[in-house]
């Protein structure tokens, strides 16, 4: 195994060639046993792009993120982050879905943000002065310095998201993946997160956010990626949010109703596996740390059978 020091040095952000695409997927498919999670995705994002990934439950949004993060290996196809395979980067920042975190865990805000530095520190090292400085700067950036010593469960949902964004900043990530970061937050908290994303993007970080809120995605993101296992559409909101595209992505859950005032689009995602998604299986909550990468990390994101 490579010593941590060497690994982090050989993948220092400075070595990234900014002229290469930040994210490049070529015919990427992911299959688990008999189910297809992603099929033939080809995609290219440039440095500093800001993309909302939208689609119905089970469309493979989380799987797409896992493939890009290098946590799940594609069954077919190629993934490249700044020109090389995702397994060789520690520049991918990731904000987990709220429900996968144990908010009673005995860690403070500072502890959580310091975790972002672990990849940079290397093995057998304790946080150095520059690690602590990076953590302080990241907390400043997200406006959470005053809460540095709080236990994470004592914060509001929006504050918790900001802490995880600070972790991404401390990690010096160049690609940020956020899975449903705004779900369940009140409007001011959502605005605060979106403003932060603006600032992070301006620092040249490529941002991908999974969302199920089509309207918000269309208003807040210059680029949308509409997914339903296949890539249905990719482009500006006006290009993506068209009736044919939405019908293609949402299929049976979508009904176009012709009324006197024009067409009304009815969405119904109520019963197509949403319940399955929100109940993590006991096997996984009892699982010993990281058993197997695919099963554990795709838990809760399997497409409905």
């Amino acid at each position: 195994m490579l010593p941590g020091q060497k690994r982090s040095a050989s993948h220092h952000p400075a070595l990234h060639d900014a002229s290469l695409p930040a994210v490049e997927l070529e015919n990427v498919s992911v299959r688990y046993d008999q189910t297809i999670a992603l099929e033939q995705i080809t995609l290219r994002l440039n440095r500093g792009d800001r993309v909302a990934v939208v689609g119905p439950n089970g469309a493979g949004k989380s799987t797409l993120f896992h493939v890009i993060a290098g946590v799940v290996r594609p069954t077919e196809g190629q993934v490249r982050i700044y020109g090389s395979g995702p397994g060789r980067h520690i520049c991918v920042g990731y904000v987990p879905q709220r429900k996968v975190i144990d908010w009673n865990f005995p860690v403070t805000v500072t502890d959580v943000v310091m975790m972002g530095r672990v990849g940079k520190m290397g093995f057998l090292r304790w946080p150095a002065r520059r690690d602590r400085a990076a953590v302080r700067a990241a907390l400043d950036e997200v406006g959470m310095s005053a809460f540095a010593d709080r236990q994470i469960g004592e914060l509001s949902g929006g504050q918790q998201q900001r802490v995880f964004l600070a972790r991404v900043l401390a990690q010096e990530a160049e690609l940020l993946l956020m899975d449903e970061p705004l779900t369940g937050l009140d409007m001011p908290s959502q605005d605060a997160i979106l403003t932060l994303l603006d600032r992070i993007q301006q620092q040249g970080v490529t941002v991908m956010v999974a969302s199920h809120d089509l309207n918000q995605a269309g208003e807040q993101f210059p680029t949308l990626l509409l997914l339903n296992r296949r890539l249905v559409a990719f482009g500006s909101p006006a290009q993506v949010l068209t009736t044919p595209n939405l019908l293609a992505a949402y299929g049976g859950h979508m009904h176009v109703v012709h009324t006197g005032d024009g067409d009304v689009l009815l969405a119904d995602t109520c019963c197509s596996g949403g319940a399955e998604l929100s109940t993590p299986s006991l096997a996984h909550t009892a699982a010993p740390v990281v058993q197997s990468v695919p099963q554990e990390t795709v838990e809760g994101m399997r497409p409905p059978r």
Binding site: F105, G116, G119
Partner: protein, 286 residues
């Protein structure tokens, strides 16, 4: 007989001094490792691991090798089997744990039954024999304890990431699988270290109970580990003295004191205890 005399008197027996040292050592070691188990929901897994090391212990005992070697080998084989069964079948992981745990334990007991002093040995392995700890045993325990605590200190931040957010461990390209086996090996070594003090049937209580008690009193992992270690030592020492004066088995007595401490904290912990909450609910205007 005054209090001081009551404390000092048993120490005139060398076996009691050795027992006390063993109880303190295990009292520190178990809860520190147990903290990860409590946070990761590994209690059942830890209990299974403790029982699954029996065949390894018996084999190395019969061959005359250090027990830790057999225990580690057994533990790792058990963990691998559990992983293979739960991944390659439709069974839930807890079922796989149950199958491997019971099977390995049965193998251990069967092997042990071929030894003439079977009943005595089995009782000692199951429930410990802290009064029979020799000086050589103590040195081995100390060495194992130092190794385990050293590994926990060296890999503290990696274990924390792995426990809190396994996905982050993968994104940061930490060798998650290797770290996981390292952590499980430390649990196995801790079980071996505690073998003589509480035995494999009760070691779970030493791993989990003080750590769970400490979790209700603290807000950071290092504090949780420190408080858990203090609770572990207090429970073991008090338990040992009670067993001396009341002539009760010492391993179970230590566990009982630890359980009592848990109960007290569960009821009365400031801010989080059950009584505290009930009082607050009653006091709050409806």
């Amino acid at each position: 007989m005054d209090f001081l005399q009551a404390v000092v008197e048993p120490l005139s027996y060398p076996f009691m001094v050795r027992a006390l040292l063993a109880a303190i050592l295990v009292g520190i070691l178990c809860p520190v490792v147990g903290a990860y188990m409590v946070l990761k929901g590994l209690s059942f897994f830890g209990d299974a691991l403790a029982h699954a090391i029996l065949p390894g212990i018996v084999i190395t005992f019969l061959v005359g090798w250090p027990l830790a070697v057999g225990a580690l080998a057994s533990a790792l084989i058990a963990v691998l089997l559990i992983g293979v069964i739960s991944q390659r079948s439709a069974l839930q992981e807890d079922t796989a744990i149950g199958i491997v745990f019971a099977g390995a334990f049965a193998l251990g007991v069967a092997l042990l039954s071929t030894v003439s002093s079977f009943a005595v040995d089995l009782t000692h392995i199951l429930f410990g024999d802290v009064l029979g700890v020799s000086s050589a045993d103590l040195w081995v325990m100390l060495a194992l304890g130092v190794v385990v605590l050293g590994v926990v200190a060296l890999f503290y931040k990696e274990f924390l990431v792995l426990t809190f957010d396994p996905m982050l461990a993968l994104v940061l390209r930490l060798p998650a699988t290797a770290l996981r086996y390292l952590l499980l090996s430390m649990i196995a070594l801790t079980v071996v270290t505690s073998l003589q003090t509480v035995g494999i049937s009760l070691v779970l209580a030493m791993l989990v109970t003080p750590a769970a008690t400490a979790r209700m009193l603290t807000r950071r992992l290092p504090a949780m580990m420190a408080v858990a270690a203090v609770l572990g030592v207090v429970a073991n020492v008090i338990g040992l003295y009670i067993s001396y004066y009341w002539n009760v088995a010492s391993g179970p007595m230590m566990v009982l004191v630890s359980t009592l401490l848990f109960g007290l904290v569960f009821l009365f912990a400031p801010g989080r205890g059950m009584i505290w909450r009930m009082v607050q609910t009653a006091a709050a205007p409806s």
